[in-house]
């Protein structure tokens, strides 16, 4: 009885509130529904990186030509991509985080914004000073600066409308993520998992910048915006409430306060469910011996109510991480995916840990968890009843112990896939995934925490996956209903660029050498077009239409984790640690420099 009454009241309340909610921000949804725009970083709220444009198709893509180019004037890694709204293009740069508003009619820079930021933020940024791009809503461009300032700019003039501080770089908090606008809120996260930062997502009012809610990844239920009785998780083959102190119980002492779970990925939103989805990152430190327990809710897929931040459900992919398999990668929302003969509305996620997950996005039920790189060896499989990966002892850095070099772990810390977002094609219901094919040796050691200083605690060495094609990447086509690789296209280096798929039947991505490549969306082994841009590509491809012509654009500018050796001018590393070792050959192919390249048919 009680539950029926609550339900009824809920519905009534929902209806009463509906007009306000529905009209809170129809603008961005409308903009994304018109394929002439590219109004969000992923093209739409579902993170699909799909475009309905089809002027460029698999038959004529071979004729693509460069239409225009533009330098950002910044070296270092260029992630993310431009937004296109009507006749304007908005593009960003890495630190110092410049913003350019470019008129599509004559490529004139209408305004430019360059914030003054304290350079001491640079050494506090992990893995290069990247920025993953801008957001648009309500006549404003939102920029999430490295120093954690979140700024709303007038899209017409570039003037600051409001500016707020989202974190404290003195504690190691920085930002690299793109802000995301869902309804009337701009939602952002935090970076600094390697500095003992406690992860959170925060929602700010797009009109004023006022904080509406903030939900942490770890700690007391109230601070995570979790209801012990209503927040659900996959437990023994079904969904069950998380229970009281679900995070606190899985940490020793106060370690959760410096326990990571940062949130620098791409978020998605389901307007019907009013839920946003994102992943939390690695627990801190990288030395697992210093943090016994499952370290909840690091390494977790989250579903939160956009209005209140309340957590609807969670699923932890890698309990007690021992490899830095940061769980921040994007959540892609797709409808009618056939799972065991039944069409499901799902969330699909390609994790750093090498498993591709398919979950029911309404309930949070685990449907599929399979390896999307056959070389993944740290776990034999995911137990579908408990939802836990079955860790192989030989590759467990916890079991091998502190100050022991665990060798030959696949994937490496940068994952079978890092932040480079995948694309989804509703026409054939296939996913196009840019991946890494890299393994590592990992030696954890004890570290002490000092605010604002690195809190890493492991030495790594990375190399191409042994006994394979010798390269460090693959571009794959994935069936999320069965959890199977449909086709895999080998690449010399990691594919660190976000993919694009279009109704024209082409899928495009960039490579670290600097090539833009377009392949047949139904047979990705067929390379239809290739062009060498001025620098290695870690940006994401996108597309738009202006005055009847379809364009494809991409930021090149080598850097990021894969390219950090190059971004920093390393010349003679031999078997260097971390990402540098495996990628040292990149210097034979590319140099630094941020450039936007725009393509069209002649």
């Amino acid at each position: 009885m009680a539950s029926i009454r609550t339900y009824t009241w809920g519905v009534l309340f929902g209806l009463a509130a509906l007009p306000g909610l529905a009209f809170a921000n129809p603008e961005v949804i409308k903009l994304t529904q018109d394929p002439k725009n590219w109004a969000m970083q992923a093209g739409n709220m579902q993170n699909q990186r799909y475009s309905a444009l089809k002027q460029i198709n698999k038959d004529n893509v071979k004729n693509l030509r460069v239409a225009w180019t533009m330098s950002t004037g910044v070296l270092r890694g260029h992630e993310g991509g431009p937004l296109v709204i009507g006749d304007m293009l908005y593009v960003h740069s890495p630190f110092p985080n410049k913003v350019f508003a470019v008129s599509l009619s004559d490529q004139q820079i209408k305004w430019k914004y360059e914030p003054k930021q304290d350079p001491t933020v640079i050494p506090v940024m992990c893995c290069d000073t990247v920025n993953r791009g801008l957001a648009y809503a309500d006549g404003k461009i939102f920029l999430q600066q490295a120093d954690t300032n979140l700024v709303a700019l007038d899209a017409k003039t570039g003037k600051e409308i409001w500016k707020i501080k989202n974190g404290d770089p003195k504690k190691g908090e920085t930002n690299t993520n793109a802000p995301h606008v869902f309804k009337d809120k701009v939602i952002t996260g935090i970076s600094g998992g390697e500095f003992g930062v406690r992860g959170f997502v925060a929602a700010y009012d797009i009109k004023t910048g006022k904080l509406v809610w903030k939900g942490y990844s770890t700690g007391p239920d109230a601070e995570m915006l979790m209801d012990p009785d209503k927040t659900m998780t996959w437990t023994d083959g079904k969904m069950a409430p998380v229970g009281r102190d679900s995070s606190l119980k899985t940490w020793q002492g106060d370690q959760w306060k410096i326990g990571g779970g940062t949130t620098w990925g791409w978020y998605s939103y389901d307007p019907k469910l009013n839920l946003m989805y994102y992943g939390s990152g690695n627990p801190s430190t990288w030395n697992p011996a210093q943090r016994p327990g499952d370290n909840k809710w690091s390494m977790t897929i989250w579903a939160r109510d956009v209005d209140t931040g309340q957590t609807k459900w969670v699923y932890q992919m890698t309990p007690h991480d021992e490899w830095d398999f940061d769980g921040v990668n994007e959540m892609i929302l797709a409808d009618g995916i056939n799972v065991k003969g039944k069409p499901r509305n799902v969330l699909v996620h390609f994790d750093r840990n090498g498993f591709g997950y398919t979950l029911d996005r309404v309930t949070g039920q685990l449907l599929v968890a399979e390896k999307f790189d056959p070389k993944v060896n740290w776990a034999s499989h995911v137990d579908m009843k408990t939802g836990r990966p079955q860790v192989v002892k030989q590759y467990s850095t916890q079991a091998q112990g502190q100050d022991v070099n665990s060798k030959g772990i696949c994937p490496a810390a940068l994952g079978s896939k890092d932040q480079q977002p995948a694309a989804y094609n509703p026409a054939n219901k296939m996913f196009y995934v840019p991946t890494n094919h890299v393994c590592m040796d990992y030696e954890p050691f004890k570290v002490e925490y000092t605010a604002g200083q690195p809190y890493v605690g492991a030495t790594l060495s990375m190399f191409p996956a042994p006994n394979s094609h010798g390269g460090m990447g693959n571009f794959i086509m994935w069936d999320a209903g069965t959890g199977k690789i449909v086709k895999s296209k080998p690449e010399k280096f990691s594919v660190w660029s976000g993919a694009l798929v279009t109704a024209g039947g082409v899928a495009c991505y960039g490579t670290l050498e600097g090539y833009v490549k377009c392949v047949d969306a139904n047979d990705i082994s067929k390379e239809l077009y290739k062009f060498k841009t001025p620098s290695g590509i870690i940006g994401n491809l996108n597309t738009w239409e202006y005055k009847g012509k379809q364009y494809i654009g991409v930021l090149s500018g080598i850097g990021g984790w894969a390219g950090i050796g190059l971004a920093a001018g390393l010349e003679k590393d031999t078997d260097g640690l971390g990402a540098v070792g495996g990628y040292k050959e990149l210097k034979n192919y590319t140099e630094l420099g941020g450039v936007l390249t725009v393509f069209a048919l002649p």
Binding site: P119, T120, I122, P123, V124, C126, E194, E443, F445, K446, V447, E448, T450, A451, G452, Q453, P454, V456, G457, T459, I564, G565, A567, A568, G569, L570, E571, K572, D573, T574, D575, G576, L577, G578, V580
Partner: protein
């Protein structure tokens, strides 16, 4: 094998460039045998280097990344300049101040010794053990 060769190469080059260095072995702030066994103070210096993740900016072999190559800088910096840089940082260039780190303040001599040994080509990069 490769490693040993390249280290030997560096050591040889250094010896050739600055014969005075090898002769003044007694003045060295570190003691080393076979390139990877060092005295206790130097060992703690290496542990400090590792714990503070200095390689993120200066490279795993101290050959420079976003930060300068310390194998070069250590040939120029006096011990006092080194200590001041560690404690006060060079904020304008992105070098943080480490005066808030107990591990750094307690192991400054060892860190100096370790990096000096790397710069001299006497100490190998990577894991070290105690010389007993």
């Amino acid at each position: 094998m490769k490693n040993t060769q390249s280290i030997a190469g560096i050591a040889f080059a250094l010896a050739a460039l600055a014969p005075g260095y090898a002769a003044a072995a007694d003045d060295k702030p570190y003691k080393v045998a076979e390139g990877n066994r060092v005295d206790k103070i130097t060992l703690e210096g290496w542990r400090t280097w590792r714990a503070l993740a200095c390689e993120r900016c200066h490279g795993a072999r101290q050959e420079g990344l976003v930060g300068p190559p310390l194998v070069e800088s250590m040939k120029r910096l006096s011990k006092e300049e080194f200590k001041q840089t560690m404690l006060k940082g060079r904020p304008e260039k992105g070098m943080p101040n480490f005066d808030g780190s107990k591990m750094v303040t307690e192991n400054l001599d060892g860190l100096y010794a370790y990096l000096k040994g790397r710069s001299d080509g006497a100490i190998q990069s990577g894991r070290l053990e105690e010389l007993k």
